[in-house]
Each structure stands twice: as structure tokens, then as C-alpha cells.
């Protein structure tokens, strides 16, 4: 174990508070419940400490490096022009919300107000969505991602101001994907992106949650800290496809919590891709709150150098007849370190649950490292659950086959590494994003290990 002890609880607690202290003054919300939510979170920030490797949930992931770096909120928004940001746009997306260092950028966004449009779909920043949709938002915002015991979720909620809100009314199917773009531009800045997706009964939507960097060149090698919270709520029969792309800079810290609530017979499909950050952690918690829901969680972490990428998922089958599928892959080069902790919980009474989980890992160097911990906890009798994890190198017969067709050893290895990751990328149903990511993966695998 490394020097986790360097960060004592007392210091860690002060660390979180120091982040809060830097928070810029913003107009307080006139809504009492929102004020109360924030106040509650502020109180938790004061009480909680940063986790260390002594905490079971953080055993493999040492974040002491984060505690040693000081961050403050962005004092002012960096002004970006559309041309700066255009390369990140996804052509299929017709609505887009852009946040720069956590601050909503209306001039770069194309929202959907809801009321004026015939479909009533809302894609909007929280502050404006609140005017007409507070009643829809109130029961969900901050209610699915618990912050009582999570220092990061608490810090995010304490900062809660701008947030991406997507509300899809009953039986409305949104054809084009919604793009939620979070751009980090400043060094030593902490941002707290927040998303709330509400899919009402029978509705369908695809949401892309996208984290990118647009540093000024001179800051290229500096760190920033993204601490994100996303809540996704699927009412009965709702269908949500959630694509998450984390392509932060190589020195960034990225910690994110995503909580998903599945209504009766709803369907949640998620593909999350982690390419960037010095240290990243993604907690994905999916709760089957009613019968017959389906979820598929696919993930890819492609890391090298000294990167660390940690995915903690929990699929909670609290109700019967639920289905879950999970395929998580890691490609680890250099002396990078990947962590996968995949918990599947089948609660008492959740009969006829069908859960399958698979974690496959490719280690490209002797120094690359993976900690994988599939956790199956079953308290119901009539269930079908499987899980498995593999850790391996490239198959030498496959390498030879490609060589025998004229590819060099290196080209053969790159192609196979790429293919390993492409299986996940292929599951993204948005052609241009898929192409973009395939290109990125191709370039990254070519430069590995």
C-alpha cells in the first residue's frame, strides 16, 4: 500500500471544506427545498473525510494525490467561441448543453425549453428548467445519488447550481441524441458537473454525457478536478440509452457518481468509456425499483502511462423478473492500473432475476496492473446469475495469423488491442461518436504501451 496514511482524516475533512470555501458567490435559489438540499450537503462535507485505501470501497484506489493538490472553483467562465468547441459537437445531436468548468454556457448550447415545443421535451440548464418544472425536478434531484456518506457526492451537491436537466414527457420518443458536454479549460479548478435525466412513462431518449478538455496550451500539463453526479430516473416502460465518455487530460482527476432508478419494465442501456485522467473513478449504481426492468452496462477503460481508472458498479435487483447484462473491459498499458469492482445484488424476493456479468482485461505490459473484484450477492432462490473475469495478454495464435498475412508483430498487436476495445465502442448507437472514439482508440493503441 502506498502513502495513503499521509492524508489523515482531519486534513481530508479540511480539504473538502477548503474546496467549498472557494465557491463563488451566486444568486441563492428562492426555492426553500433546494436551499435545504444544499445546506444538508454542506453539513455533510463538514462531517465527512476523503476516503483512503483503508476504506473498503477505496481499497485499490489511492487518491492521496488528489488531496495533495489544491483546487478552487472557477472564478470566471472562460469565454469560448463556437469554433473552439465545434470539434466536440456530435452531428446527430440536435440539442446540446455545454458547461465550461462546470458553468453553463448558453451561447454554446442549443437547449429545448419544453413548453414552447410540441413534444414538451426539456433539455435545459437547471436554473431555467426550475421555473416551469420545479415540481417534476424536486422529487428526484439529489434523491437518487445519496451524499450522506459520500464525500464527493456531498461536495457536488453542496455546490449545486448549474445542472443539465433532461425531461422526456410520457410516451415521447426523442429521435436525436441529447449531448451534455462538459469542457474543462482551467488548471487547478474544481468543477462539479451535474445531470438529471427524467424519462417519464413510455418515453425514450439517448443521452451522451461527455467530458473533454480544452486547455490553453500553456496549461496543458496541469491538473483540474471534475467531480460529477448524474441521476437518471426511468419511469415505467421508459427506455434510456446513456453514453458516457470521459476523455479528460492526462493529469486530471475525475470522480463521478451515477445513480439510476429503474421503473417497471424500463430499459436502461449504458456504455461508458474512460480514456483520460490521471486518476478516475466512476461509481455506477443501478437500482431495480420495480419488476421486470432490464439494464445493460458496458464499459471500456483504455489507459496507459501512470493512469488509474476505477469503475465501481452496483446493480441492485431489488424486485423480481429483472435482467442485467454487464461487459466491462480494460486495456492497460504502461504502468497503468485499472480497477473493476462489479457488484450484483439479488435481494430476497427478487425471483426470476437474470444477471450476467463479465469482466475481461488485457494487460499489455509486465507493469500494467488490474484489480478485479466481481461480487455476486444472492438472497433469492429462483435466479440465473453468472459472472466471470479474465485477465490476459494477446493471443499469440491470433498474432501469428495476422503476421502470416504480412502484418508486422506491432501492427498485429495494435489491431488486436483495438479490436478488443472496439467490441464496446461498437455498442454505441451513434455513428459519428462511434467513429470518433474508434479513431481515438486506434491512435491510443498504436502508441501503447
Amino acid at each position: 500500500m502506498s502513502d495513503a496514511t499521509a492524508l489523515t482524516p482531519a486534513i481530508a475533512g479540511r480539504y473538502l471544506e477548503s474546496l467549498l470555501a472557494g465557491q463563488p458567490q451566486r444568486a441563492a435559489s428562492p426555492l426553500a427545498w433546494l436551499k435545504a438540499l444544499r445546506a444538508e450537503a454542506v453539513e455533510r462535507v463538514g462531517a465527512l473525510r476523503l476516503p483512503t485505501t483503508r476504506d473498503e470501497e477505496w481499497r485499490f484506489t489511492d487518491i492521496s494525490l488528489l488531496g495533495k493538490t489544491s483546487f478552487a472553483s472557477a472564478l470566471s467562465a472562460t469565454y469560448l467561441e463556437a469554433a473552439d468547441v465545434a470539434p466536440f459537437y456530435i452531428e446527430e445531436a440536435t440539442t446540446r448543453l455545454v458547461f465550461v468548468d462546470g458553468i453553463y454556457a448558453p451561447e454554446l448550447s442549443s437547449p429545448n425549453a419544453g413548453s414552447g415545443t410540441h413534444s414538451g421535451v426539456v433539455v435545459s440548464n437547471l436554473t431555467s428548467a426550475m421555473a416551469a418544472h420545479a415540481a417534476a425536478i424536486k422529487p428526484h434531484l439529489g434523491r437518487h445519488a445519496p451524499f450522506t456518506n459520500d464525500a464527493f457526492a456531498a461536495q457536488n451537491t453542496a455546490f449545486l447550481h448549474d445542472a443539465a436537466v433532461v425531461i422526456v414527457p410520457r410516451d415521447v420518443s426523442v429521435a436525436a441524441p441529447v449531448h451534455l458536454l462538459f469542457i474543462a479549460t482551467q488548471k487547478e479548478v474544481v468543477s462539479t458537473p451535474r445531470c438529471l435525466v427524467l424519462a417519464e412513462a413510455g418515453s425514450a431518449v439517448t443521452v451522451i454525457e461527455d467530458y473533454v478538455v480544452l486547455y490553453q496550451p500553456r496549461w496543458q500539463e496541469e491538473a483540474h478536478f471534475t467531480n460529477a453526479v448524474t441521476e437518471v430516473v426511468l419511469a415505467d416502460n421508459a427506455h434510456v440509452t446513456h453514453i458516457r465518455v470521459q476523455r479528460e487530460g492526462s493529469k486530471a482527476f475525475h470522480i463521478a457518481n451515477c445513480a439510476v432508478s429503474l421503473g417497471r419494465a424500463s430499459n436502461y442501456q449504458s456504455v461508458s468509456v474512460a480514456l483520460g485522467a490521471r486518476l478516475s473513478r466512476y461509481n455506477l449504481n443501478v437500482m431495480h425499483t420495480a419488476e421486470g426492468a432490464t439494464c445493460a452496462l458496458d464499459g471500456l477503460a483504455l489507459i496507459s502511462g501512470r493512469q488509474l481508472a476505477d469503475t465501481h458498479s452496483c446493480i441492485d435487483h431489488a424486485q423480481p423478473h429483472g435482467t442485467s447484462r454487464q461487459l466491462h473491459k480494460c486495456i492497460v498499458g504502461g504502468s497503468a492500473h485499472a480497477v473493476f469492482n462489479g457488484k450484483v445484488m439479488v435481494r430476497e424476493g427478487a425471483q426470476r432475476t437474470d444477471a450476467r456479468q463479465s469482466n475481461r482485461n488485457l494487460l499489455l505490459t509486465a507493469k500494467a496492473h488490474i484489480d478485479t473484484k466481481p461480487q455476486l450477492e444472492i438472497f433469492a432462490s429462483d435466479v440465473k446469475c453468472t459472472h466471470g473475469a479474465t485477465v490476459g495478454q494477446l493471443d499469440s495464435e491470433e498474432v501469428f495469423y495476422l503476421q502470416s498475412r504480412g502484418l508486422t508483430d506491432a501492427a498485429a498487436r495494435n489491431l488486436l488491442t483495438y479490436a478488443f476495445g472496439a467490441e464496446i465502442i461498437d455498442r454505441i448507437p451513434i455513428a459519428s461518436l462511434k467513429q470518433q472514439l474508434e479513431q481515438t482508440v486506434l491512435e491510443q493503441t498504436a502508441s501503447l504501451p
Binding site: Q403, G406, A411, L415
Partner: protein
């Protein structure tokens, strides 16, 4: 076909090779000239595939002695990809599945890699698509196979056709077909054999490893060799294959042993 004064393509002398410390090839001699079609037959485990893989440069097989010249250059000094680029092609007995690598993408990549190496023109995706579809027609292959992963979930026969498709694209000087006929139904065999025959010229050569005469009805060999325990123990013309089909291998083995035990 045997041509007068044709060039020697492959010359194997006293080749010994082992895998995991076990010697499989034992003092093997073998010569192929351009234009010729050879068949290698022999019982299971006699070393036919080992020989093919040693020629292709499989890293698991260690050459312990002997020499292999391919068009006059030391083949054993070349990496597998250099052998392929130099014009050696192995159609695998068990083609490898490569999940996640699109067949079309893979075929274009190998084609362009080899073309570039030979100083010839590379094709962009559209040009290549036309080109490969033509070749697929020759083998009566459905173009849908371009969109699938390399060999993944292909039937035995489909994998074999895909091997011959690669051969058609790479235009090797020397092709070794390791049991390409196994797993093919009679119609598929006819199609594949026709495809192979279309590819043979007086400048290239073919070595077919097979257990069955039926392939040799379609692709007629100039020489038939019998392999046993890692060496060629008998060589004859196409009639030898027919004889093996009716009489089996035992007599060849007996004949070889008798010859070996004749006092000098």
C-alpha cells in the same frame, strides 16, 4: 504443371524442427519449382502441419538444423510477415478466429500492406470493395462475410473459403494449403478447387496437404509425397495418391523400412 527449366522456388534440406523440446520434423528434404503442384499426404500426426507452420515461421516451432531457401534467400532468417511479403502463403488447417477485427477491414489491411511492400498500388476502401467482391465471386462467397469479424462464427467450410480468398488477394509465389478440402462439401470443394486452379500460373506453385483423393481430382498434382514421422518417405506422380487411397499407407512404410535396412 512441370515446366522445363523452371526456377526452384523452395529448397528444403535436412530440416529438423521441434516443439516444446519434442522433435517433429526429422531430416526433411523437399523441393518445389515454379509451375508445379505438389500434394503431401500422410497419417495424422506425421508432421504435415508442423512442416507448413515451420515454413510460415510460427514461433512455437524451433528449427534445430537444416536449411530452407525460398527463391534463393534464407527463409529461416525472415520474420513471418517478411515471408508473407516475399510471397509465401499458408492456408491454415484451422484458421484462427479474430473477434472484433472486421473481415473486410482486415483483408484490405493485409492487401495494402503487401502491395506497398511490393512497390505496388494500394487501394482505398471503395476501390478495394470492388476488387474484393470480384474475388469473392470467383469463390461464390457472400459479400456479407466482409462485415463480420475475421472467421468468427464461420462454419468450417466458410473459414476455408476465406483462406483461399486471402490467397487470391495476396497472390503468393508459393501457397501451402493445409487440408483446405477438409470440411468442404462436394459443391464447395468444386468451387474452391476451381478458384485455386484459376490462380495457378507457371510462375507460382502450390503445395496441398490432404488426406483425400477427391481434392486431387480437381487440382491435379504433379508430385505426391508421403510423410511419415517428420520426413518424406516416398514421392511419386498423381497415380501414387490413387494407390494410397486403395491400399493405405502401410505398404509405403514397409517399403521404406525395408529400403532403410538394406545393408550397404
Amino acid at each position: 504443371m512441370i515446366y522445363q527449366d523452371s526456377k526452384v522456388l523452395l529448397e528444403v534440406r535436412g530440416l529438423c524442427a521441434s516443439v516444446n523440446g519434442v522433435e517433429i520434423l526429422k531430416d526433411l528434404d523437399f523441393t518445389v519449382k515454379s509451375g508445379e503442384v505438389h500434394a503431401i499426404m500422410g497419417l495424422n500426426g506425421s508432421g504435415k502441419s508442423t512442416f507448413a507452420k515451420v515454413l510460415a515461421g510460427h514461433p512455437a516451432y524451433e528449427v534445430t538444423s537444416g536449411s530452407v531457401l525460398f527463391e534463393g534467400q534464407n527463409l529461416l532468417a525472415l520474420k513471418p510477415e517478411e515471408r508473407a511479403r516475399a510471397g509465401l502463403f499458408l492456408a491454415f488447417q484451422y484458421p484462427i478466429e479474430v473477434p472484433g477485427v472486421g473481415n473486410g477491414q482486415f483483408l484490405r489491411l493485409t492487401y495494402n500492406t503487401v502491395q506497398k511492400q511490393r512497390g505496388k498500388e494500394e487501394l482505398d476502401p471503395l476501390e478495394f470493395d470492388d476488387f474484393v467482391r470480384d474475388k469473392m465471386k470467383l469463390l461464390e462467397m457472400n459479400p456479407d462475410f466482409l462485415d463480420r469479424s475475421v472467421n468468427e462464427g464461420f462454419s468450417g467450410g466458410e473459414k476455408k473459403r476465406n483462406e483461399i480468398l486471402q490467397m487470391a488477394l495476396l497472390e503468393p509465389r508459393l501457397a501451402i494449403l493445409d487440408e483446405t478440402d477438409s470440411g468442404l462439401d462436394i459443391d464447395a470443394l468444386r468451387v474452391v478447387a476451381h478458384g485455386v486452379n484459376q490462380l495457378t500460373t507457371k510462375d507460382n506453385a502450390m503445395v496441398m496437404v490432404t488426406h483425400y483423393q477427391r481434392l486431387l481430382n480437381y487440382i491435379v498434382p504433379d508430385y505426391v509425397h508421403v510423410m511419415e514421422a517428420g520426413r518424406i518417405i516416398k514421392t511419386g506422380g498423381k497415380a501414387l495418391a490413387l494407390e494410397l487411397e486403395t491400399r493405405g499407407y502401410e505398404w509405403v512404410s514397409a517399403e521404406h523400412q525395408a529400403a532403410a535396412s538394406v545393408p550397404v
